[in-house]
């Protein structure tokens, strides 16, 4: 018998006659979107020592320009599909991942600008799914500075909401603050292998 058949046979013998169980799902499920989610997301992301800005649609490009200037970030990776109106008119060198950048090229970039797929207010998490404006996973990993733009309508209340919205067929990266470790005496230190600086820009509709 193959290892596969042996293991499956062992499992069947082990659980024979064992009763099955019902799964109680009385925990909180998806919650309706509300005005408070922007503030909650901002507070929870800040808790991880990431910078957070809330800005109207028309102000995004200026805010990005100011942020790049402050971080002295000149060479920026901009994935395909990142909304053009959100990019500053000048003041940075735009790098495309086409043809595909090597890992060492990526390592020399000053930063990366992305959108996201979903943001979770309760946990202060942004989720990337390699969709438009996000690029492949390594792009948000090697540069030391990641600026992520979140539209208000992408914010959900909690984890069940996010899981329901996401497509498991895509590679997903859930990001909650900058890279961190607690391995030394359980002191949290921001910045190990991933980007040490995370900045999140929450975009509200221009009308509000």
């Amino acid at each position: 018998m193959s290892a596969r058949d042996v293991i499956l046979a062992r499992v069947r013998a082990a659980v024979e006659g064992v009763p099955d169980v019902e799964i109680p799902r009385s925990y909180r499920g998806a919650a309706p979107a509300s005005e408070g989610l922007v503030d909650l997301l901002a507070e929870r992301v800040r808790h991880y020592k990431a910078a957070v800005h809330v800005v109207a649609e028309t102000g995004v490009a200026d805010l990005v320009a100011a942020s790049l200037a402050e971080r002295r970030a000149r060479r920026l990776v901009v994935p395909e599909g990142f909304p053009e109106p959100w990019l500053p008119a000048q003041g940075f060198e735009r790098i495309a991942d086409e043809p595909r950048l090597s890992a060492s090229d990526l390592d020399t970039a000053d930063g990366i600008l992305t959108t996201c797929a979903v943001a979770i207010a309760e946990t202060g998490t942004i989720v990337l799914d390699a969709g438009a404006g996000q690029g492949r996973r390594a792009l948000t990993l090697l540069p030391d500075f990641h600026l992520c733009v979140v539209r208000q309508d992408q914010i959900v209340a909690n984890v069940p909401d996010a899981v329901a919205r996401l497509d498991p067929g895509r590679p997903l990266t859930w990001i909650s603050g900058p890279s961190a470790t607690s391995d030394i005496e359980l002191n949290r230190v921001e910045g190990v292998h991933g980007p040490r600086i995370l900045e999140v820009v929450i975009v509200t509709p221009a009308a509000t």
Binding site: I7, V11, A13, A14, V15, A103, P168, L172, S182, E185
Partner: protein, 480 residues
Amino acid sequence: MSRTFLGMPGTVSMMGYSGKEGFPENAAKAVRNSQLRFNLRKATGTIRGRRASVVGELPDWPDLRQAGKAIKDHTLRNLDTYLVELEEAVTRAGGHVHWARDAAEANRIVTDLVKATGETQVVKVKSMATQEIGLNEALHDEGITAYETDLAELIVQLGDDWPSHILVPAIHRNRSEIREIFVRHMSEWGRPAPEKLTDDPAALAEAARLHLRERFLATKVAISGANFMVAETGTLVVLESEGNGRMCLTLPETLISVVGIEKLLPTWRDLEVFLQLLPRSSTGERMNPYTSMWTGATEGQEFHLVLLDNGRTRVLADDLGRQALRCIRCSACLNVCPVYERSGGHAYGSVYPGPIGAILTPQLRGMESELDRSLPYASSLCGACYEVCPVAIDIPSVLVELRGRSRHPMAERAGMAAAGWVLNRSGRLARAQRMGGRMRRLVPKRLPGPLGGWTDTRDLPDIPKESFRDWWNRTDGGSR
């Protein structure tokens, strides 16, 4: 029955602890190390507080816990079906699935896969399963160097040490010890530690970043474990903090994941429960910094999944013990355990220390060695582990059951038989009590001969002058 290897062979001495000695001997050595006790107390105290605060802020924690327990029980009950479903989904998504009955088979599969790439170096994400099977040592024997990339695992590897905690493997080291290890040993493995390295945690993290960066960029094969596998979609999930996991999972051309068969979840939706339970129980955060999810061969990568039994089906066959397979390796039980807090992880002689290790190790490995027989006694049965467990594993009940199954020492069996004989008749008990009362000044602090084992770790209680019944009869319930 063949012995199951759990990373620490019983005959090899490590850290001054030998598998031939039981937990009491190991623990006695550990508690004399005041630096270790200080580090452990500080670390476990910190994380207990953090966990309590983020668990307390979720109004539906008990509901999530019940759902987590039920999802795992349902999965285990139908494990054969879900394993086949997972295999189909991973294969459909371009991945390759391998099955390993035991540690040796898993190590051989992984070694062959690495050799097929022609590489002699691999980067590793912290993984309990690969520690359990001793993969690094097996690769080493075949001329392949495995580089640990998690900061704590790096500290352990550089220091030629053993992990002592599931989540924070170097919890037994303080900052100055870590600085010392970096300064001395980083150069043997790659880029040396920076000049004038201080023991500031931020500086130490920076040193690890520099040490590993080139390695990440150059290495073509990575080995990981996984926190969860979703049968329905074939998705694997890894939770981490530092970004070393993302480096290993995304940059190399070949990814090999070694995962215990009990890590399955039936549906994608089930993640909504475990992505709340695990980070809050584990690091005490609302969410860990990075979680990666991928399905099959992703972004041009070659992907191999090695499904590992290594004693798990034996545990599954045990009606009471199988609940240990619900474990999601959060380590909350270690952090609340009064025994772990004092003895540390090494005394358990297994990659799975603490309360969960005390029930998992003897079940996976069998109870042939002195160490494995003694593990179910590494507990005061206070029940704190059960209370914090996010999947409600009743660790105390399993401990008591396992105690009953191990062979007890002759002196203990004789003592228990004698006690049974005395307690069985009230007349015998009364006579024994009166005799005890008269001889009380002659009773030594430490019992002689084989009975000494009991008093080595306990104080003998004072024997009262008079038994309660005699007092009651003499005073008519205190009224005379």
